[in-house]
Symmetry: C2
Subunit: 357 residues, 2 copies
Amino acid sequence: MLYEISEKAIQLENQGKKIIKFNLGDPDLPTPPEIVEAAYQAIKQGKTKYSSAAGEKALREELANIHGVSKDNVVVTTGSKWAIYSLFSLLLKKGDNIVVPSPHWTSYELAAKQVGVEFRVLKRDIESDWKIDVEKFDQLIDKNTRLVLLNSPNNPTSKVIDDKTFTELVKIANDKGAKVLSDEVYADISFVKPKRILEFGTDNMLVDGFSKSFLMTGWRIGYAVVEKELAKKMVKLNQITTTCVPAFIQYGALKGLEDRKRIADNIRTTFKVRADAAYSVLSNTKMKFSKPDAPFYLFPKVDGLDSERFALDLLDSGVAVAPGTAFGDYREYFRIALTRPEDEIKEGLEKLCEALP
Amino acid sequence: MLYEISEKAIQLENQGKKIIKFNLGDPDLPTPPEIVEAAYQAIKQGKTKYSSAAGEKALREELANIHGVSKDNVVVTTGSKWAIYSLFSLLLKKGDNIVVPSPHWTSYELAAKQVGVEFRVLKRDIESDWKIDVEKFDQLIDKNTRLVLLNSPNNPTSKVIDDKTFTELVKIANDKGAKVLSDEVYADISFVKPKRILEFGTDNMLVDGFSKSFLMTGWRIGYAVVEKELAKKMVKLNQITTTCVPAFIQYGALKGLEDRKRIADNIRTTFKVRADAAYSVLSNTKMKFSKPDAPFYLFPKVDGLDSERFALDLLDSGVAVAPGTAFGDYREYFRIALTRPEDEIKEGLEKLCEALP
């Protein structure tokens, strides 16, 4: 359905209609020019050949340095999505299950289905401010639970799991023999400081990327930090699938790491202004929503709403959003990505409010 | 073992030793500057966002035009390797088998193993000039054979399957309910014109790429031409794995397509000179080898040779080659990639001849 909305939005645009696209987690801001130039220089220097399936040494070392691990724990991947898919492929077999607090990113569930394992969700809701019920979490995990997937800040809610809860979840999972895969792609640009999985050592798994923190969505570069034997398996899987991330893209990302605090600050500042603007428009409506802890999303609820119908109809008003059903059992919710300039956000949200049933 | 040689060669280089690398199918020639500039301009124009999981419309249309199919038959992939892996994932299940004339590219076998299917090889040898025994091929195919994998020109032999044999193989496979997956990454730059799978319609599958024909190995861009329903499945798999090939890379490749005849002619000319030079050095030795029909490889045999031992020892003489065991049951063979300048080829081959046991 997410894809259907996306395709229809593009069709309407091709027909000359203006669509304010709140449906994609793809920021309007350009990739920082120093990253672009570093990538271009790397191309000119001939970094266009096959490169290591583990990632360029310089990038792995810098990431290892940042995370306080060895470079042998770091594998550069074709986006964080490929890191997740390859970890699923390597660690899971039929009969296994994954436990995930919901709402959750669409791709997790589709990847689990593709790999043929059970995807167990722990339902949360806006009424309890997206709190995770630790006891229910505990009950969901059984002997076939191989992975627990955490995503804090979360897509689509932009909520951070508080430190105490995060710690409890990791402990419960690990005590029961399940590993935690923590997708932290929004962590570096979060408004609120989230707990990080590597504080618990590399027996659990970090997946991160540069799409959001360096505005490099379309460049397809991410990475995993995992224990060394698993890293070797990921590298072997890269060798027979994606081969490598283009080396020149890795040198772009490496340049970005030099300046990562400033780049993240810029993104955070821009999106804080947008989030505040959105908050003030939406506060006077019947929508329930919580203040985001991070860019880029709001995930409001309208009691009784059929969000799939709503999202399709809203396209006629020139606004695209993602229906809540893309993120689990959330028919009354929809996701607004604040990935447009401030004036478009105001205009789009006003149209959206008018269109509410 | 291929990977071990490659890693050891890099280690030796890092120690300051000069290694003439004949071990990799990665040409020394740079990516043509018009491709580089088109990619850079696309970056500057903001083609750095998430793009279609099927590939950019303009590129798919151009490829469709070249191959005489619809753009809905074309899926752009993260290298041709990913096209192959994703087709294996989508079409094969445990209990199935794949039939492949051997010697064969290493990745085919590793991918089949990863997907959990049987990999059946039809052995060929230099003594019969790499001819395929059609009768034996027929006998290898049974009711569980889902795919036949052809690769003409072939890595590692650089031999083209003659038109009559190619046609027979496709007919036998299809009559028995198996589809042909034809990896034609060397076809555009072949010295000898090979038969193409799409002459038999899109019920069979073409996998192709820009790594070899546009000297874009490290850019990771390839494509598949398959029937439309299968194309949709490939796109869905892209959505949950690699997402897309960076759009700016696709615009680079699209620029290359404008000039593809000239680019291919240049590569062919360069490698014909190299192949002839190599031929003249090796003709006076005890190696058995056949004249290549295409860039980039020679695959000589030395009776009684242990090519793994030989390849490791040869590194001490400053030359890297790939042992024949990387391509199937070919211990007495090794692969020489002529992906170095002519003077290095002469120097390297002379060292190699001296080192022969």
